[in-house]
Subunit: 552 residues, 2 copies
């Protein structure tokens, strides 16, 4: 295709360096030799001139051929015709020290703006980076037509450009790399558009604050539903490029921490023979002539892995919830960061390890992803996420203490058998005001609020060895010590109306000896949403799924 | 519970350090003072003696109390009563330099063997490590009853033991840590068994070679079906502990390599609004009042991520295939290691990156997981996995060349429009004999054999820009350059009988500009199975799923 076509420079005519053989039989005369030398010299000069012309012609031809295909209305080629192995440059790496260097860059045209008919400014974008490029009519190199064609490129076209890096006289505010610009000599179309953009990436990336403070301009607001309907375009915004870099970072920080703590990564099946945990919110699958269910979490499998002696395990995988709930924080499919570990002495070993994991994650994000966080902040302004990283440790409240805080704040004790979403948020505000932290733990939940596999407290059977973790007043992890004793497990299943026989292989796993163990499950998208204050969980999911959305 | 109970040493009787108040009203005489001093001295000595006795009694009581609960038929406690924060030791870390050290270890009893009524030998196991421990009747410390009780522990009980590390006079062959043994002073039951083991872990771990060469002993063979029915027990074998350590290693090597190459980890939804790729082998899900499908791969989502400018992405996640096939290498759910990347010049960039990824993975496994590979080799003997790591590079055959090799080996060209499983294996043998490698690539598959989204070759439209990777004669990766041009994509969909409207959001992703791109999908369990020669893919999956198995 045009962008990869090898330029074949025509070889200059070969010049005889010495006189042809066979003419020297008798030995030439001195004059004859002189004459020949003169002719040879002349021929050499002519050849050199021809070579120079050929090179110039080739250069011009290359410039024409490379973009002509598109310019004259032909389609860019889909397949590679050759492989010149020329170095491509990333916009992020451009800097004033490269002043004068020739670079080759594939990028999106975010916007293009013609100035007269001799110059066009292009804003070129790669992920979260952008740079200004300009193409100017230049004799023998850049034709008027070429500039006209470049000015007519649709926004979001993908181009390959070649040009010289120039230190820019003043900082270019419209580009993330503002201290250089590119002076282009060539521009090729790699992929064009077939139709109209539902919205421009520039509009989609514009912070609400900028829209609100420039009412006279009447900037277009791109609503969440429109974004999600056209997610591929929406994901191209710098904001979203940064959001998903941070999503990946959370997974990596989770894994790195647990790898260091001797955990093993496992993969458990999502297809289950029986409905797990609670039958109501489980998706049913047609499985050959029978039926199956989608796992609501790797809960059963990871506990079975503990009974199978893996000691400490984690899994990053999708979990499915058939809850017909369309809130800002529910999806039907999300990523679970799950872990489970054997307990040596006390379930607080687990709680403390998870606490350390979270603090490590927060630290890692703020230290290593400052740039991405700042990019997101522009669109989603928020206070820096705060946690207690000092020797006083993370704030840990018992469920009872949490209730007392709410009561002291004016909530009626009668409604506090459970702490609902509203009161969770209120508690978050109380805690923030009193302890200056966006992150805390509630321990010792009432047994009645927890699933059947939760270990009761040894002294008060109405209370359990379980905990929730909170970020900005919303739950992001639920965990507990689990029941590893099959007799107690069966008793608790029956109390919750679950037929032990329906989960036979799970119960059986504990009959053959299992160490005391505990763990927790983290919602990846919730952590991302709350850390960045994205306000809607769908923004933290690449292609979100809810009861009303299965596309794209 | 017994293993964590805090020992409360009874306080020694308190001794009056000074005479009681009130007797000094008039001031005591000198003699009186002397007498009192003497009495005080006497009382002090008596108190010291009493304290010492109390301490000894407490020590003895502790030894008794700690195991008495179990010994006298009581159940081990489920919940932590205290948290003494005593260091626990891993069997793997034991070594002769620790001779004389007192250690505390939680482990499985793999086997126990009484010698007379005064001594019991225990083989203690943690993951892939084991050590021999012995408990001997010792006055004041280990009673006859305690030894008797320990000898009666069922195999696979979990115990907490305390004892002294002793350099062993000769290597103990039955243990993986053979140069030390443990001389126990205490043993507590952490978790016992409720019922009979379906098979012993010792039987399950015994290599076929050992069974075959000891016919007179009549060792029990544990069949695959029995293992899978009781997977939690089967997974406890040293072999399986090593297999899943290696499974985790493959994922980590995959990620580490791609992270270094600038890839972003993504998570795409498994719930799809439309059947993807090929409608026949897709699972249907009840989705509220409608229906959904389980993704057969992240193919569409990862391509859309490229159209969304993520440039290079990978995903590790479950993929679902509703194929009613019960071969040694098919499962209905398996882990896909998927990647997709923008192409700069030529699709071979992708093929070469994947090749480098695989070589890096093989190297990583052999360098960092030698021990685990050796453990598996005992049960599954195999030649070391071979690949060409030198400057000659990986063997790359075109599909045509592969066919020619088979024809030269005697296969009829007529049956070679496709290379079936049988001929794949044959080709593997031919290549191994000719090129001494277990790993190679076939490039340029016929277009007819590939999915609709495969990019045709620029010169020969019957051939495609696609490749498969092979290990030990079985396909482990399928990949290609994809069609990024919507017009060509629609044309190819129609040719394969797919209605473009049924995959609208996928097709639309390419209308708004998408760079040329390619990638591939790796079956994690296949790589693991073939690298280790496990012969059945179910052995490479924690809880395998096939048309007949949804449990455990």
């Amino acid at each position: 295709m045009a962008d990869t076509a090898e330029i074949k420079v025509p070889a200059a005519e070969t010049v005889p360096e010495t006189a042809p053989e066979g003419t020297e039989d008798k030995g030439p005369s001195k004059n004859e030799l002189k004459k020949r030398a003169k002719e040879a010299e002349k021929a050499k000069k002519a050849a050199e001139k021809a070579a120079k012309q050929a090179e110039l012609a080739a250069q011009k031809a290359a410039a024409d051929v490379d973009y002509a295909a598109e310019f004259y209305g032909k389609e860019p080629l889909n397949q590679s015709q050759s492989r010149p192995r020329r170095q491509r440059t990333q916009i992020a790496s451009l800097n004033p020290n490269m002043d004068g260097e020739n670079v080759l860059i594939r990028a999106r045209v975010q916007t293009s703006r013609a100035q007269g008919n001799k110059m066009v400014f292009l804003n070129l974008r790669q992920r979260i980076d952008s740079v200004q490029a300009l193409l100017t009519v230049t004799p023998e190199k850049v034709s008027k037509q070429m500039v006209k064609w470049a000015a007519s490129l649709q926004d979001e076209s993908i181009v390959l450009v070649e040009g010289i890096v120039k230190k820019s006289p003043e900082v270019i505010k419209s580009a993330s790399v503002g201290d250089v610009e590119l002076h282009l000599s060539k521009i090729f179309l790699v992929s064009g558009l077939d139709g109209r953009l539902p919205f421009t990436v520039e509009d989609a990336n514009r912070p609400e604050s900028e829209i609100a403070s420039n009412e006279e301009v009447q900037y277009k607001r791109v609503l969440l539903e429109t974004r999600l309907d056209n997610r591929v375009i929406d994901l191209r915004t710098q904001t979203n490029q940064a959001v998903f870099k941070l999503q990946s970072a959370i997974g990596h920080l989770f894994r790195d921490y647990l790898d260091n703590e001797g955990f093993l990564e496992i993969h458990s099946p999502k297809l289950q023979g029986a409905a797990t945990e609670s039958g109501a919110s489980v998706f049913k699958v047609s499985y050959f002539k029978g039926g199956a269910f989608l796992a609501q979490s790797p809960q059963l499998a990871k506990q079975m892995a503990i009974a199978a002696d893996f000691e400490r395990v984690y899994e990053i995988g999708p979990v499915f919830r058939a809850e017909n709930s369309n809130t800002h924080r529910h999806m039907t499919e999300f990523m679970g960061l799950d872990l489970e570990m054997a307990i040596e002495e006390h379930y607080h070993e687990v709680m403390e390890l998870i606490d350390d994991l979270f603090k490590n994650m927060f630290r890692g994000l703020q230290e290593k992803y400052k740039n991405e966080i700042e990019v997101v902040r522009k669109a989603f302004p928020a206070d820096e996420f705060k946690w207690r990283d000092g020797p006083e440790g993370t704030l840990k409240l018992s469920f009872r203490e949490a209730v007392d805080l709410l009561v002291a704040d004016g909530v009626s004790r009668e409604v506090l058998d459970d702490i609902d979403t509203e009161n969770e948020k209120r508690l978050g505000r109380i805690v923030k005001a009193k302890y200056d932290t966006d992150y805390f733990i509630i321990d010792k939940f009432p047994m009645a609020l927890r699933p059947f596999y939760t270990m009761p407290d040894p002294e008060d059977p109405t209370v359990s060895n379980s905990y929730d973790f909170f970020m900005r007043g919303e739950e992001i992890l639920s965990g507990a010590q689990r029941i590893h004793d099959p007799t107690l497990l069966i008793e608790k299943m029956k109390e919750k109306g679950i037929e032990p026989e329906s989960m036979k292989s799970y119960v059986d796993a504990f009959r053959m000896g299992c160490p005391p163990h505990g763990g927790g499950g983290i919602g990846l998208e919730r952590v991302l949403m709350l850390f960045l204050k994205l306000n809607n969980i769908r923004r933290a999911s690449l292609f979100p799924r809810d009861p009303k959305r299965l596309e794209p």
